[in-house]
């Protein structure tokens, strides 16, 4: 552990003045003098008398922390440099009125069993006051396998909802006003298929595509970095991402075509700095890929959105979101010169960190989630999912899901933080930390762009290995007790109480398979055969696959069948078993 160093009064961090001689703020060094006096007369004597709890304080991602921050730690004097909400570089917020105009969307991800089960949970969550829908799918659906595939055995409907065909999506959203509610689809390698199912279902429900608002996660790069839900190798996978962007830009104009995600990399072990850097670089990679396809940046960039994790280090998470907005706006401007300011906006969904929640003393998680949710709000998120306190045990029950929604409502309506735009902006500490995270992210940018960019980093496994290094470092800190986890390595009690948790419905597999059998028996087999052949031909010729996938969906093709057809053309990705 580093020894305590006496800190020079005007010591700077990256992004500020390094020589320590010339203070940035305060006329004639008045700030530096005042700080030096306090340190000399008040702080040092106290710290010598009662040594501080640690020799060295750092953020969760390892950035050093001073005892206190002053105007000299803020990069520039005055006010204008910080910018304003709704104006470049959007550090203080993407919209001019932020939550004074409209609160963030309460968007709780849900999914289990078969479509009817999740439709039921959607209705429950809407009744509790959530304002946007989000669905996650079971492992077979996420990986592009039908419920009756050999690999799906024992996994159907457990981690999310089982969706095999377009009619399942119809059942999933039955009776819900898709023209008034935005729907997020947490799906990646088969995103094009699930999106096609959604569009097919919406059409049958009487909603024209022009009114549909929502998001498809569709972020395949982070699958190769961290979440591991891949099917095909990187190149055809990226092509399919761009197909969806191209298609929706023309046909589903209100749809967010990618949710460029840091959450999964963070959960896999990435630090906040790594999450910030890798997510934004992935985003820039997608923009470039779409530009390379011939799309106009202003046609698609306004519909790119982001998804960040909100972990325990309160101020680091707020600073991360602010730095993300600033970096994205600047890099989009610099690299792609959009004419529409909406192309510069880093709009994000956030989720409180699942990985930070503990099985020991699970009720403690309520406090963790509340603090994390507060950080997301102070950070200016557009939509938010809060975890249930039983996150380490199972999917949330109605009770724990309700409490998670209430947590957001209490923040929104009782805490007062939503009544002022960017209320923590201007904090000397927060602005210094925002600058530091920005600088640290740029260091990562330089490393990865130096090796040829994100696709090269996937091939070499660079990002995966750095994430794994961080995960290992964190585990060692927890095991050694250096990283306190309340209830686990400190403030420990006896065995956890038995919680009433969500019951896994092992019969969901049976129901799903019965539906599949029925579907295959009754559909027009010739139509499916024809659309399958057309899909494969289009794939071989490098055409946009969305229209063909939609045709397959209309012909009652299953997800697994469509994915298999594409696997035949593109091959399957085999990741080297690095650890």
């Amino acid at each position: 552990m580093a020894k305590a160093k006496p800190q020079a009064p005007a010591e700077r961090r990256a992004g500020g003045d390094r020589n320590g001689d010339t203070p940035r703020n305060g006329a004639n060094g008045a700030v530096a003098d005042a700080q030096a006096r306090w340190e000399r007369e008040t702080y040092r004597p106290a710290a010598n008398g009662t040594p501080e709890r640690q020799a060295d304080f750092r953020t969760l991602s390892g950035l050093p922390l001073k005892a206190i921050y002053t105007p000299d730690d803020v990069r520039e004097a005055g006010f204008d440099w910080l910018g304003h909400p709704g104006e470049f570089p959007f550090t203080r917020g993407v919209y001019p009125t932020m939550y004074r105009g409209r609160l963030w969307t309460i968007r709780q991800v849900a999914g289990y069993g078969t479509a009817e089960d999740t439709n039921h949970r959607f209705r429950y969550l809407l009744d509790q006051g959530e304002t946007g829908l989000s669905v996650t799918f079971d492992m077979p659906t996420l990986m592009g396998y039908d419920s009756d595939h050999a690999r799906s055995k024992g996994e159907v409907g457990l981690g999310g909802v089982a969706i095999d065909a377009a009619r399942d999506m119809y059942q999933l959203y039955e009776g819900l006003p898709l023209d008034k509610l935005t729907a997020s689809l947490t799906i990646n390698c088969p995103a094009a298929v699930i999106l096609a199912f959604y569009l097919d279902a919406a059409q049958r429900m009487g909603f024209p595509w022009s009114v549909l608002g929502g998001t498809v996660q569709n972020d395949i790069l982070k699958e190769f970095h961290a979440q591991n839900e891949w099917a095909f190798p990187p190149a055809p996978s990226l092509s399919l991402v761009v197909d969806q962007v191209e298609f929706c830009t023309q046909q589903v104009p209100r749809w967010n075509t990618i949710s460029i995600s840091g959450y999964h990399m963070r959960e896999a072990g990435a630090t906040a700095v790594q999450e910030l850097a890798y997510t934004l670089l992935d985003g820039l990679t997608y923009v470039q890929a779409c530009v390379d396809r011939g799309l106009e940046v202003d046609a698609f960039a306004p519909r790119f959105s982001f998804f960040f994790d909100i972990h325990n280090d309160f101020f680091e998470e707020i600073a991360k979101l602010r730095a993300a907005r600033r970096i994205w706006a600047r890099e989009m401007q610099r690299r792609f010169h959009p004419k529409n300011e909406k192309s510069l906006l880093m709009r994000c969904h956030c989720q409180t960190a699942g990985v930070s929640l503990l099985a020991q003393q699970p009720m403690n998680n309520i406090a963790r989630v509340a603090l994390q949710a507060l950080a997301a709000v102070l950070g200016g998120a557009q939509s938010l999912h809060t975890n249930g306190f039983d996150e380490t045990y199972a999917l949330p029950t109605e009770e724990t899901a309700q409490l998670a929604v209430r947590t957001q409502q209490i923040i929104a309506h009782e805490s007062g933080v939503a009544n002022v735009i960017d209320p923590v902006g201007g904090s000397y500490f927060l602005e210094a930390l925002t600058d530091e995270m920005e600088a640290a992210a740029y260091q990562e940018f330089a490393i990865i762009e130096g090796m040829g960019g994100m696709l090269a980093a996937i091939e070499s496994g660079y990002v995966r290995q750095r994430i794994g290094d961080s995960a290992m470092r964190f585990q060692k800190e927890v095991d050694s007790g250096k990283r306190v986890q309340v209830g686990l390595n400190q403030f420990v009690e006896g065995p956890a109480p038995r919680l009433e948790t969500h019951e896994f419905d092992l019969q969901a597999e049976v129901r799903a398979n019965e539906r599949l059998t029925e579907l295959r028996r009754t559909r027009d087999h010739a139509a499916w055969k024809r659309t399958r052949s057309e899909l494969q031909q289009a794939a071989r010729r490098g055409r946009n696959l969305m229209p063909h996938i939609l045709d397959c969906a209309a012909a009652q093709a299953t997800e697994g069948e469509i994915m298999d057809a594409l696997r035949e053309v593109h091959g399957e990705y085999d990741a080297p078993p690095l650890y």
């Binding site: 024992g154 990741a575 078993p577």
Partner: protein
């Protein structure tokens, strides 16, 4: 004569679950502890796991599962291990596994389940002890 061959372990992700943070951290810890670690990578079927164990001639198989599919995967693994004559190989696991399912898993031959909150040290020590006992039994 003490048997101080390095312990050879297969560490696996079985089923479709792709959460590999834990399994990779465990693999690194076992390697750092001087063991020979073979990591299968993701999305392995039980058949693939057992085939790898056979080919690599390991003394222990550790399986990570967070998907809820443990009551299907572990019994299948145990069944295949028996078929292939690997009954003396130590089967252990970790991930998101409800406490109440552990007795059932132990019954089908899972020697130990490491729940969230387990330390790397615990896992290393368990393996050292279990392999030592196993090797002791093997000697005439």
């Amino acid at each position: 004569m003490p048997d101080d061959r390095p312990i050879k372990v297969l560490v696996a992700k079985a089923g479709l679950d792709g959460h590999d943070r834990g399994v990779k951290v465990v693999a690194r810890a076992l390697r750092d502890a001087g063991m020979e670690v073979v990591y299968t990578g993701l999305h392995q079927t039980p058949e693939q796991v057992v085939m790898a164990a056979l080919q690599e001639d390991v003394e222990a198989i550790g399986v990570s599962l967070l998907s809820g599919a443990h009551m299907h995967i572990f019994p299948r693994l145990a069944e295949l291990m028996k078929e292939k004559g690997l009954d003396d190989v130590i089967l252990f696991g970790g991930g998101i596994i409800p406490q109440e399912d552990i007795p059932g898993l132990e019954q089908v031959g899972v020697a130990k389940v490491f729940l969230p909150g387990s330390t790397l040290k615990e896992i290393v020590e368990f393996l050292r002890k279990a392999v030592k006992e196993k090797r002791g039994k093997g000697k005439v």
